[in-house]
């Protein structure tokens, strides 16, 4: 016990004596939480629209002003020639072209229908898809308004219409930040837990201090615990800072209990620390550990359901998400923060995470040798 106490004391001393580490540990989560949620926004705004109006009618002008008033579109130019509009697409100034044909208003009034042409710049696929969808729905809306104008009240409306109204459970405002912030927080905790820990151990290898420790009677489990406990604590500190920021900046207060979040985080950190330890046993210098961590972090983030829905991934990728510990914590965070899930709801997640922790740590301890 005395040895462990001293190992811990030494470890904390070293961590707090390294100003770079302290800055990384405390500044990194703050900056990431302030920046990333704003950037990781799925709503597409500021779509540059180029309108080719051959009609110059009342309706065409109404349509254009309705589009620009929606907030999604910015009118890049308003011309009478398609070539000109195409040119602005070629110069990456416009994302969408809407062409209003000659006699648009006349045919609409006379024949009860008319056509519009839409051309989409598909270089940015997401923007093109969503932009086109927004445009279509606004035009439909416009269509309905036009129709309403014609209906003579109180004449009976012969058309039956099904109108759908939706209500969003757990996140009524569909605020994507409620969804992203907890996920980003998970990534931060993972980075501290797994990667700072592995770098720390590898550094001892690199400097050669591990050699000096290995000739002492220090027990393997003491040394490993001495390495894991500080980062376990730091992980929880990061989580606390993150939750505080989420509340202060985005007003996100978990619907569920804090105890559930911390309870799961405690188990989760055991698993990712095991991973960090494992990385450190397979690498011999900080560069290798860094590259390996970077690679794993990319896979973890992209296959965790943080940015993209797991259900829409191909089947093989879905299997990978199952062996990715980050997936489970993100799921739990969202469940607890948005839905208010309790311990009973996340019990399967806890069990799986305990499994991860047991496997990763055992593997790492077996692979950690005091002699070669």
């Amino acid at each position: 016990m005395r040895t462990l106490k001293f190992l811990l004391q030494k470890e904390f001393r070293q961590i707090f004596r390294d100003p770079a580490i302290i800055r990384i540990i405390f500044v990194m989560p703050v900056i990431q939480l302030m920046l990333l949620p704003w950037a990781a926004d799925y709503e597409i705004k500021n779509i540059q629209l180029s309108v080719v109006d051959h009609d110059h009618s009342d309706y065409s002008r109404q349509l254009v002003s309705k589009l620009t008033a929606s907030g999604y579109f910015q009118l890049e130019n308003y011309t009478g020639s398609f070539d000109k509009a195409m040119e602005s697409v070629e110069h990456e100034r416009a994302d969408l072209i809407l062409e209003v044909p000659h006699h648009f208003e006349r045919t609409l009034v006379k024949e009860n229908e008319s056509t519009l042409f839409m051309a989409v710049n598909a270089i940015n696929g997401v923007k093109a898809n969503l932009g086109a969808a927004y445009l279509r729905s606004i035009i439909q809306d416009f269509n309905r308004e036009v129709r309403l104008e014609w209906i003579q009240f109180p004449r009976f409306n012969p058309e039956t219409q099904i109108e759908v109204t939706a209500s969003n459970w757990f996140n009524p405002g569909l605020n994507y930040k409620y969804f992203m912030v907890p996920g980003i927080l998970v990534i931060l905790v993972t980075m501290v837990g797994a990667f700072l820990a592995s770098l720390n151990i590898v550094r001892e290898k690199e400097i050669g201090t591990i050699e000096q420790i290995n000739v002492t009677p220090v027990k393997k489990h003491h040394f490993i615990l001495g390495k894991l406990i500080p980062f376990w604590v730091l992980g929880l500190v990061i989580l606390t800072i993150g939750l505080g920021l989420a509340y202060a900046v985005y007003g996100i207060a978990p619907a569920g209990s804090m105890l559930v979040i911390y309870g799961f985080a405690a188990v989760y950190l055991l698993a990712v620390l095991g991973l960090g330890l494992l990385i450190s046993t397979y690498t011999s210098n900080q560069q290798q550990a860094m590259l390996l961590s970077f690679f794993m972090m990319m896979v973890f983030i992209l296959l965790s359901g943080l940015y993209t829905s797991i259900d829409s991934m191909p089947e093989w990728a879905q299997y990978i998400t199952k062996i990715n510990p980050v997936t489970y914590f993100i799921e739990v965070m969202r469940m607890v923060v948005l839905k208010g899930s309790g311990f009973r709801d996340i019990l399967p997640h806890i069990m799986i995470m305990l499994g991860f922790a047991a496997i990763l740590n055992t593997w790492a301890v077996i692979n950690y040798k005091k002699r070669s």
């Binding site: 004596r17 000096q212 000739v215 220090v218 002699r371």
Partner: protein, 316 residues
Amino acid sequence: MKAGNYIPGNGGVTVNNIVKKYGAKKETIQALRGVSFEVNRGELFGIIGPDGAGKTSLFRILTTLLLPDGGSAAVDGLDVVKDFKEIRKRVGYMPGRFSLYQDLTVAENLEFFATIFNTSIEENYELVKDIYSQIEPFKDRRAGKLSGGMKQKLALSCALIHRPSVLFLDEPTTGVDAVSRKEFWDMLGRLKMQGITILVSTPYMDEASLCDRVALIQNGEILAINTPQGVIDSFDKTLLAVKSRRMLPLLEDLKAFEGAEDAYPFGEYHHVVLRPGITDTHAMSYLSQKGYEDVQVQLITPNIEDCFMARMAKIY
């Protein structure tokens, strides 16, 4: 070290035919090819050899960091493979590279190593006092900020703080200035008085004369084990020191001399080992033939370096 569970050892080191290979099947490097020697309790034993001779591998095996591929070794009467846990309690190891925590202070490093050996600085202060008192004025300075000589002293203090019965010093004086080297060897002499067995490796042959006995190691093999005086006495060749104004062509000509077994630069002279039956007059006439007029030739008694040079050139 608690007296209660201490298994008394013989304090010595026995190495028996140790073999160590590195690398996979095809490109194996034999670091040690059957090394054997014995060190008695309280002896200052030097292992002298050029870089890559296998000194560090040998030390790592004896300090239980490396498993030998063959042979056996015992430290303080304990087997290095079987009883590695017990050995770790009673050896001190100072690796060639400074490997203490650079971001901890001098005092913190010493305290840390005292604690993990289950002892305290106070308990064994007597032993390290001599060395540690020299760096004590800087005890709040971080180890990384110490000068080379002070780092050496701190590393030695840390390796001694648990009162080991055997001390392993791997190239302790590499990269240390001449004054500090002298001091360091003086300290080793005092530690020996305390009954600690010391194994020290060094690439510097002049340090060999400071040991009780030395082993010359090259390419993973021990070439000779003897006392420094014994090494010198066993040298039975004629040795010349030669000097002239044109030293570089002189060396080449000496190497080409048929009566010379070996010639190598040595300080401001070149040393020449003569073949049996050849005398300094032969050498003189050879050199004047070659056109050296100012040449000085004198017969000298060999020192330990000459003996090692001859051993490594395998000429006796």
